[in-house]
């Protein structure tokens, strides 16, 4: 998963109020349930008569082995539902071709930007009749309504299921920040913990580090900063969105750190913030030029062989630090770089509306819709979601001191064995997990994800993270960031991030989608020229030239549309929840 959404705790109340209001507004939904969640513990499914194999396409490359799934979690799902999962690994292009050609699997994980195509083309199945047989999913009618509102779908049917719904949303603390800028703690320490006023100050710091450590122990070249080409423009701006307090409620609506609207690719938007940073890195001689030619897998190769001084994603930390661990250098590796006033992502929030991206659909070609909905319904139960998140009781987890906990062996394996998910199935099918990890299971009183417990954090804590956390007065990295927020040295995520805002905004039509896709293609092609500008004047000139191209391709039109959509959405939001900062 590339992205997740988070907000500061204060938005919980606002989101819940909005949820209640939306539920009231949705009308005609007989299955509406309280967002605070009265979901019965445990799954209600039992193996239906006969086994069935359902093909399920992922929205991205599947982390495991595609095809018929055979691991403890998949086998347990088969035992409970009778469904054998046949996973199809995918990518955005493949999904578009599947939709255009009508060659659809039984179940699809769809990104929202393809939802309108699927809906208009009647390529997905209306779920309303099926939902009558899906008691677990039906409890989250609100979340389904929100998607309809987001898609301007007024035909009275529901087609899309959000994932990771948290019916009793409350903020939780991550072990470490999720997306942003991560640098080598051992080198930072060696430099004497230099105070960084902004992320731009990382550049001279990284340049110094690179000068001192130009190669790995194995003699491989080290780079200050790198990137990859096959995620589009992601690496340019997403780390900044999370680290500097910009927000991105949906793909199209971004806000500045001060909460005001800005178009993502506008001259003063997060994209150009990132490009400017990359240009500075280029001019400082620390940028890996292969950032413009290599694929993500090549980038990953460099991450895992200690060739980078910066990484972008929290979920890469274990893989990146495994390089040092394998050499017995437990005190070396990457941590989230602390910068004055940076945005903490230690606190996260999942909401009653689920994740904004992606959604689950049953395709019009599904050979057995009833079995498909029964299968999905199981995965929306506490039991099913817990199985996907934690694995099997007695194997991956057990009850310790009256609470469910991962076993020590599981925590060790999760941290050290990069194939743990593939071997066990734990965490492998998160895109089918109906309930979010921060959902509190009423049967245990604990978070659904046993990776959010104190035991897990303490057992996972290695010398590197311990040193880092203690330096900032915390017990684990996420806690250290919480302490920084308490001390006023870091900020919580912007209040401008409103999980349910997309539901209140009007969405663009196909023509707008084409304009925006074209803008992205132009930027993918042209941005490296700006990054490789030799000085400020040359950078400015390139920036203006590229802005000229995207303006010609219709950016002002897209900007105007989303500005109005954002303003209208915010007006509705204010109406519903009152005071909005």
């Amino acid at each position: 998963m590339k992205k997740t959404k988070a907000s500061r705790p204060m938005s919980v109340a606002a989101a819940l109020c909005l949820t209640a209001a939306l539920t009231a507004c949705s009308g005609g939904n007989s299955n509406s349930a309280s967002p605070s969640g009265s979901a019965a513990p445990g799954g209600s499914s039992s193996p239906a008569a006969g086994a069935v194999k359902l093909s399920i396409s992922w929205d991205q490359q599947f982390n495991g082995t595609p095809g018929v799934q055979n691991n403890p979690v998949a086998n347990e799902i088969k035992a409970k539902t009778g469904v054998t999962m046949d996973i199809i690994s995918s990518d955005p292009d493949k999904i578009k071709v599947m939709l255009a050609g009508g060659d659809l699997p039984d179940i699809m994980i769809l990104p929202p930007d393809q939802a309108k195509v699927a809906l208009d083309g009647k390529l997905v199945m209306p779920l309303d009749e099926l939902l009558a047989k899906a008691p677990n999913i039906s409890k989250f009618q609100t979340a389904l309504d929100v998607i309809n509102a987001r898609l301007n779908n007024t035909d009275g049917h529901h087609y899309f299921l959000p994932i990771n719904i948290a019916p009793n949303a409350k903020p939780f603390s991550n072990y470490a920040p999720w997306i942003g800028w991560y640098t080598r703690w051992d080198y930072y320490k060696e430099q004497g913990y230099p105070e960084l006023k902004s992320y731009d100050d990382m550049i001279p710091m990284l340049a110094d580090e690179l000068k001192k450590h130009p190669t790995t122990d194995e003699g491989k070249k080290v780079y200050g900063l790198s990137g990859w080409t096959d995620w589009g423009l992601w690496s340019y701006y997403v780390p900044f969105v999370y680290a500097e307090g910009w927000t991105e409620s949906t793909k199209n609506t971004t806000t500045k750190p001060d909460g005001s609207y800005v178009y993502r690719y506008a001259a003063d938007g997060p994209f150009w913030r990132g490009v400017e940073f990359y240009n500075k890195a280029f001019r400082a001689g620390i940028l890996d030029k292969e950032a413009f030619t290599q694929k993500y897998s090549d980038y990953q190769g460099k991450v895992k062989s200690g060739q980078l001084l910066t990484i972008h994603m929290g979920w890469e930390l274990d893989g990146a630090n495994a390089y040092f661990k394998a050499k017995g250098q437990d005190d070396k590796g990457f941590v989230a770089q602390v910068v004055d006033g940076a945005t903490s992502q230690a606190y996260s929030l999942q909401s009653i509306v689920g994740l904004n991206d992606p959604w689950i659909v049953i395709s019009k070609n599904c050979k057995d819709p009833e079995r498909a909905i029964a299968f999905l319904d199981y995965l929306y139960s506490y039991e099913g979601s817990g199985l996907l998140s934690n694995g099997l009781k007695g194997t991956q987890w057990d009850i310790e001191n009256g609470k469910p906990e991962f076993t020590d062996a599981t925590i060790k394996a999760r941290t050290e064995d990069k194939d743990f998910g593939v071997k066990t199935g734990v965490g492998l099918y998160g895109k089918l997990q109906g309930l979010g990890g921060s959902t509190v299971d009423p049967s245990t009183g604990a978070y659904l994800d046993y990776g959010l417990t104190e035991k897990y954090f303490k057992t996972k804590l290695n010398p590197l993270d311990k040193d880092y956390s203690e330096h900032y007065g915390g017990t684990y990295p996420g806690d250290a960031w919480n302490k920084l927020v308490e001390q006023g040295k870091a900020k919580s995520l912007s209040p401008a991030f409103i999980p349910a805002l997309p539901a209140l905004q009007s969405q663009g039509d196909d023509d707008l989608a084409k304009i925006e896709a074209n803008i992205e293609q132009i930027l993918i092609k042209e941005t490296p020229k700006a990054v490789m500008a030799k000085d400020d004047a040359a950078f400015q000139k390139e920036k203006e030239r590229i802005l000229g191209l995207v303006n010609k391709a219709g950016m002002p039109q897209a900007d105007a549309f989303w500005k109005k959509s954002f303003e209208d959405g915010m007006a509705k939001y204010k109406e519903l929840v009152g005071d909005v900062k």
């Binding site: 083309g121 390529l123 413009f292 030619t293 090549d298 293609q521 993918i524 042209e526």
Partner: protein, 310 residues
């Protein structure tokens, strides 16, 4: 071989004989395949005249007329760039195509049969490697930490080469890779053509005092020239549709301006942007240019050789 078509009965009227019927039946599956895979897909052109959206039947899709063609020429920069790139890289390939003849002639002159066969097999193998693997090999050779740059660094050079990300040499680099991949395979047909040259001609030349080079120049080269011309004409007519795989795998933002060919532009417009009717219109434009090239080449061929290809 007996004539397939024999004239019987009424003069001027031809009757198909048994052999003709048999041959026709034998060819039927292939004709059917050609219709199914080459002509039937042409039906898809109809989408260029509609505002097509996936899943919606054509009957319910709004008619757009020539709007997508107009859009293509209203902002022609990308189209022209893709056309120039396509033509430039393919002309370079054509310019380098005589290398296969040179290679075949050189191979033919090798006395050791074992060595000749080894070289022939070894040089033919790259033709069977997929373009994805060719890219991986190229990356392993030319990336910052690749073989070439490592060697350069060990030799004390501070200059690193980066042909994968250097826009200025993209056309030449791609042509070079094409030559590496196809040289051995292309040479096979010339080796066959050389084998078909009457050996007595070489004997006569030797008697006349011709040395090896003279024999090659006056016998071998003229002997393979008709084959070369036929292949040249075919490659010109097919040049707009060649090697999408190659340009797709080598595409990156640094060389995008020089490597985006018409087929890639169709892919980008259709799959990436989701504008299927526009992509279809560009595909039709490509076909039109191909047909013009084919007839132009045919015209030239007719003038030069007195023979028409079609």
């Amino acid at each position: 071989m007996a004539s397939n078509i024999t004239a019987r009965g009424n003069p001027g009227r031809k009757k198909i004989g048994k052999d003709g019927v048999l041959l026709f039946l034998l060819s039927t599956p292939f004709i059917a395949c050609m219709i199914a895979f080459n002509y039937f897909p042409v039906y898809g052109w109809v989408y260029a005249f509609f505002d097509y959206k996936p899943g919606i039947p054509l009957a319910q899709t709004p008619f757009a007329g020539f709007a997508h063609f107009k859009a293509m020429f209203d902002a022609p920069d990308d189209l022209i760039n893709a056309l120039v790139n396509t033509l430039a890289m393919n002309f370079l390939n054509i310019l380098l195509s005589p290398l296969a003849i040179v290679f075949a002639i050189m191979l033919n002159e090798v006395r050791s049969t074992k060595y000749k066969k080894f070289v022939q097999t070894f040089s033919t193998l790259p033709n069977f490697i997929s373009w994805v693997l060719v890219f991986s090999l190229t990356f392993a050779f030319f990336s910052t930490e690749g073989l070439v740059n490592t060697l350069l660094a060990k030799l004390g050079s501070s200059h690193a080469v980066d042909p994968i990300g250097n826009e200025r040499i993209t056309w030449l680099f791609q042509a070079g890779i094409t030559v590496w991949k196809t040289l051995g395979w292309s040479a096979i047909i010339y080796i066959a053509a050389i084998a078909g040259i009457d050996g007595e001609l070489y004997g006569a030349a030797k008697v006349d005092g011709a040395n090896r080079f003279r024999a090659i120049w006056h016998i071998t080269v003229p002997g393979v020239l008709p084959t070369f011309l036929v292949l040249l004409l075919l490659s010109i007519s097919n040049m707009l549709s060649s090697s999408f795989d190659q340009y797709f795998v080598f595409y990156n933002p640094l060389v995008a301006g020089k490597i985006e060919v018409l087929d890639y532009y169709v892919y980008r417009s259709g799959i990436k942007v989701g504008d299927y009717p526009f992509a279809t219109a560009v595909g039709m434009f490509k076909t039109l240019v191909s047909v013009i090239l084919l007839f132009s080449v045919n015209f030239v061929s007719k003038k030069i050789r007195g023979q028409s290809m079609i």
